[in-house]
Symmetry: D4
Subunit: 159 residues, 8 copies
């Protein structure tokens, strides 16, 4: 954290009112669009027609693409998986398995209207901090959605 | 797929920017209204007062009818079943049985606000592609809703 | 229009129940993503940080990109302008000028929750039919949003 | 009004608690579907691709049809015009002209999320009571929407 | 059913277009308010602070009362139970027990945003037809909510 | 204001963290139901079929009644007028006249989804503090709605 | 309860229409902000980045704080837990354990759009009456959320 | 902008797929809570009971306080003004005056459900970039809301 106006703060005795800022990072829109393109391509190779969404850490949509045959449920599903992974800072698969063992945790869906706990959402980290989320929806199985998300991250971010 | 403007594209070296279009089909509104009428009639024969909805592949309502005694939950239910079947390209009964075996898949309802996984929704295909969905709601049992949807399809599309 | 199952229909006397389909077209997702990229680039040249959305004729989101500094109002605004132009089959500027002269037409905003009548939305045509819409939001002036949308169309579709 | 259980009520002294019912009427679903079909046909004659909605007096959708080329704004617009006319028991054109003279009445749109004050909605009466509403949306002008609604009523109800 | 305009219809050959109306009934607002008052009183006797809602058959609110200490969840809960019972024409307890045995029927909640399947909602019949619904919420147990609803019906409608 | 736990607070030096409570008042549910009944009766005398809503100071519905012929727009309108008057602590007519002179204040409708600025809503005061709001909707003119609200207050609270 | 205008009421014979008010209490905004601050601090000690919300008895937000790294799901979750505890007058953990034993009680989530049944929400009482609710969300476990809420109450209200 | 993984990127020829991040800043939650407290205090001095909201640049709520007598419309209004100022990077007063001169710009309210164009919202900048927004609502006049927001900024950030 950095002082807001360092000089000014020197002259005040207030402890609780230090004006501070916190730095954070986000993917550039170009990188986000690359992730969308690679996510779509990875799924298209197996003839899965999906939607891919990238959100920033605050959960706002950054980039999005819907394959020609991907339905509206997948478009919304991709956005919600990306939101869930970025906001909860874990893969949606992690929480999906948690619900399998603890059915009362279906209540997690009531945390926020955009929470969706099905595999296919992954957080994206930078220097140890979550800065974005990717969500894929529409493949015939959540593990396949996850695989396309991983392929996109691997190709764009880890090469 | 067809080139957008073939001539124009010859003069560009861009590979990623091929301007392409994809063709799709939809039921005509007259056929959609016929399906509604026949779905209502099939259920009325057994004195079931239902709602029947037809949506196109994008999930938008195309035609709709609500029997004189069918309640608002059935009106909305019919639309959501039609949406679910058209967008997910499977009968809602298919997913209903999936949830029976895998309760954690109740999360499928969080994919989109219009997803409803109870029997009564069927995708409608044309040349192997899903082009629409039909949903019936209000009969005393999901299998009865499905039967009316099937009767409508059989009478209007397969005769 | 084409008969659904021509052979089958020959044997039926029904007149009102002709099972018909209608063909339509959509932009491929690759072309939609190109339009997003070019719309962002056209605005970035003048240091305008915007959001760009592409929807199909049914109003569903096909591709989307939000510049690093573009706020959430612009993200939603771009989607709504694209929806408005695709669904109403006219530029949003056309309706904006209409409201300037006829203030009672502010009611047009109540047609649908996604209607937004500010310049920046354009319909995209193919063979004389509207098949998509593009919306740009976030530049300091609706005419500037429109200019970026036009630049994207010109570069991707009309070259 | 009729007493709920006349005999039973004779034995009670309560004045404020008279159990009463009120009778009302609704269009049958078949008639509602006919109105939809005729509304679509009247507009199609002039090559206007519209949506037509019929609601009962409580504002719930009874029948609906959307022309093959009619956009989602028109689908929603038709429902809202029908709702507005049935609930407010006047044509939407009547309120539209009121707003032209009294701009502060734009506030009427805030009465209910389904209120839409553009021409094209008409109440349907039976024995002097409003029992339904029809809404047409999508023609290039509200007066044209109204004309199609009137044509449907004239053909189905007043012949 | 009664012909819309009998005389007029004699002169038409149309079979599918018979203009018909259907009659229905509703509780008068006075009776609805009595039910609210008695439902509140029955629960208050046991020191339960509840909300009571009456809806007509279309699910629209007719009368409502919230005890001084009844929270907003109970206010909404009462409305939704009344809606559910009136629209589905069964007590909400009936469906609650169904879900106990068939957990996959939790999907019933996705039929409509106002469906709530917890005991406390009852349909109200007149001459064998459901014409309204009552919902009570806020007592420490669904069976207690149901008891207050039954007490109100017994006092106001069956005396 | 009163100290939360006076004794406990004596032993703490914290100045900013004084645990305080504020007292407020609300209408009893019986009085609220009386206001509904009298508001309906005042309007019914002139054959106006309206809805009447009472909310507490926090804007939550306390009591409600809808006349047999009052449409859904009036039901919602009554609730929103009551909310607006209770929350903004002025009659809705006051703000309506303000908008007449300053059209840019239509933006007041965007403060909250329940704000409705048409005459017919009045705040209800107790010992100089607003403790509730009444809203009437459905009479053929906002001044008539206001008159019924005033008649109810006059009969129930000021007798 | 206190008579509204005692003198005036003496002259009326009405029994059902006694104009009464009920007193209630709320936390002052300063105390609410202290609770937020202490809730955040208690969690930050263990490096948990959470959101903390305080609502009054009617469920309306009174004070709120979101840690620098707390996601939007936690912001909404904190508000909903506070709402649930204040309105249902029990800890959300109480209902969470109830659902563990009775899965059909997942339906409790359908009572109101703001109900969230995961641990972390506590009612706040004053003189035996619930006057507020606190909700904490974002720690890696509902019991940890609850602990932070308890720490805040203990420090601000029970010292 | 900084390369995502500099080493890795050296070995790739891709130009369009550079994995980049963008840095941004936010107010710490403590500073945000201070702003809320000072905004409330500035208004309370003149006996105005308001709500104060702080959002980050993405429009998500960071801190919030509602005075004991401030209604729900002001709570929502404060959030929406803060959102509008942070997202559109201008004071809401700036846009309010724009609408005064160009009434057709009322359409700005349709950009996003949280846009509210009444004075009282201000962007908060750090090193020339907007990093947050403050919104005040509830004083008897938008200029008074703005004054309280300015007082808070002046006291907490510019001392």
């Amino acid at each position: 954290m950095k002082k807001f106006l360092t000089a000014a703060l020197l002259s005040t005795a207030s402890i609780t009112a230090t004006a501070e800022t916190v730095a954070s990072h986000a993917l550039s829109v170009n990188t986000a669009l690359e992730l969308v393109k690679e996510g779509l391509a990875a799924c298209a190779k197996d003839n899965y027609h999906v939607s891919v969404a990238i959100v920033d850490h605050s959960g706002n949509l950054k980039a999005f693409g819907r394959h020609n045959k991907s339905g509206p449920h997948a478009a919304e599903g991709a956005k919600r998986k990306a939101f869930s992974a970025a906001s909860m800072e874990e893969s949606t698969e992690f929480f999906f398995k948690l619900i399998q063992k603890n059915p009362e945790l279906q209540g997690l869906h009531a945390l926020h209207d955009n929470i969706l706990i099905l595999p296919g959402g992954l957080p994206i980290k930078y220097k140890g901090e979550v800065i974005a989320g990717i969500g894929v929806s529409g493949a015939p199985g959540g593990d396949l959605d996850t695989a396309c998300a991983e392929a996109a991250i691997s190709k764009v971010l880890n090469k």
